[in-house]
């Protein structure tokens, strides 16, 4: 009877109280996976099919042991977190200002920039060293729903807290804020 009660208690327990399914064994953070990620180059020997360029169906997995990007076509990029030298994030805002220029042709176009929402593209750059010592990198575009979590996970597993100015990804901002003077 006691066992039956215990079983029912476990079964009825709230989801949050259970151990996460993707919890990694051992010390360190849990393994986390995101699927809405676009690949923007960097992987050694990785080539893309131009017809499947804009796909978001790639899988980024971050754990204390590895950072892995598995592309839709099966190609895979694996990075040892210990080899990461810099992480950078840049959010690019886009507006539809050019649409306003169409007012010359059509007065109704004046309203379009106000009616269409602005969008932000979230780019995350990871720089690391290959086992051969060659500098390499990975550039991905994250979704608005996952870019903050990905950055947080990267900071957590790589322990990269500050991007040196000479190592930062060109034109991108460091992930961490400089200390206030």
């Amino acid at each position: 009877m006691r066992q039956v009660c215990l079983f029912l208690l476990i079964l009825l327990a709230p989801q949050d109280a259970r151990v996460p399914a993707q919890q990694a064994s051992g010390v360190g953070m849990e393994t986390r996976t995101w699927t809405k990620v676009q690949y923007f180059g960097g992987g050694v020997g990785i080539t893309m099919n131009p017809k499947r360029l804009a796909t978001w169906n790639n899988r980024l997995t971050i754990s204390s042991k590895t950072i892995e990007l598995k592309l839709e076509d099966g190609q895979c990029i694996e990075i040892d977190p210990a080899r990461v030298t810099a992480i950078a994030y840049r959010g690019r805002k886009f507006s539809r200002e050019e649409l306003a220029a169409l007012a010359v042709i059509s007065p109704a176009a004046v309203l379009l920039p106000f009616l269409t929402p602005k969008s932000t593209e979230h780019y995350i750059g990871i720089q690391y060293q290959l086992p051969s010592g060659l500098p390499s990198g990975l550039l991905v575009r994250a979704h608005k729903d996952n870019h903050a979590a990905i950055l947080e996970a990267l900071r957590s597993v790589t322990k990269v807290t500050e991007v040196p100015a000479d190592a930062s990804v060109q034109g991108q901002e460091a992930t961490t804020k400089k200390p206030e003077l």
Binding site: F40, G41, P50, L53, R92, L99, I105, G137, L139
Partner: protein, 163 residues
């Protein structure tokens, strides 16, 4: 007449929304190359296809026809690590030599970026995906087979700096 005017007034903006990858970036902080350097495109009749020299990698940059309506014909510059290395037009290619390591490629059109890790003695092929109006939308590394299918149909073009 009024109905025709109304349909034009509605359909043109609608088309622009539907085919608008040409939204403009608000941040201009990304420096693909020095903004004060102007270039003009020089077309060549010959089609050189050099291989990588010892200790260097060679990167071919190809640009095909525009997708969609194919309206954009203008030149697009490519910057690598903050310096301009070449320029393309439709159905053209150029190449450049690079030291082994990580290259940060960047296009002046829409400030599109791409990372490319190159190793000494190897050849890489980068394709520009072109949008219907504003030009290049993004870059991607393509396979040698894919590049060799396209290269015979493209002409070789270089960028000449304007005084």
């Amino acid at each position: 007449m009024a109905r025709k005017t109304l349909s034009v007034a509605v359909s043109i903006p609608m088309a622009c929304v539907l085919f608008a990858p040409w939204v403009v970036p608000q941040d201009e902080q990304l420096a693909c190359g020095p903004s004060n350097e102007k270039y003009r495109l020089v077309r060549h009749k010959d089609k050189p296809l050099p291989e990588a020299s010892p200790g260097k990698a060679v990167v071919y940059v190809l640009r095909g026809l525009a997708t969609g309506f194919g309206m954009y014909r203008g030149g697009v510059r490519l910057g690598v690590d903050g310096k301009w290395v070449g320029m393309t037009e439709r159905r053209s290619y150029f190449y450049f030599a690079a030291d082994p390591g990580l290259l940060k490629l960047c296009l002046d059109a829409r400030k599109t970026e791409m990372f490319l890790t190159v190793e000494a003695g190897k050849t890489y092929y980068v394709m520009m995906e072109v949008g219907p109006v504003s030009g290049v939308r993004r870059l991607l590394a393509i396979s040698e087979d894919e590049a060799k299918k396209r290269l015979p149909r493209y002409h070789y073009a270089t960028a000449e700096r304007k005084p």
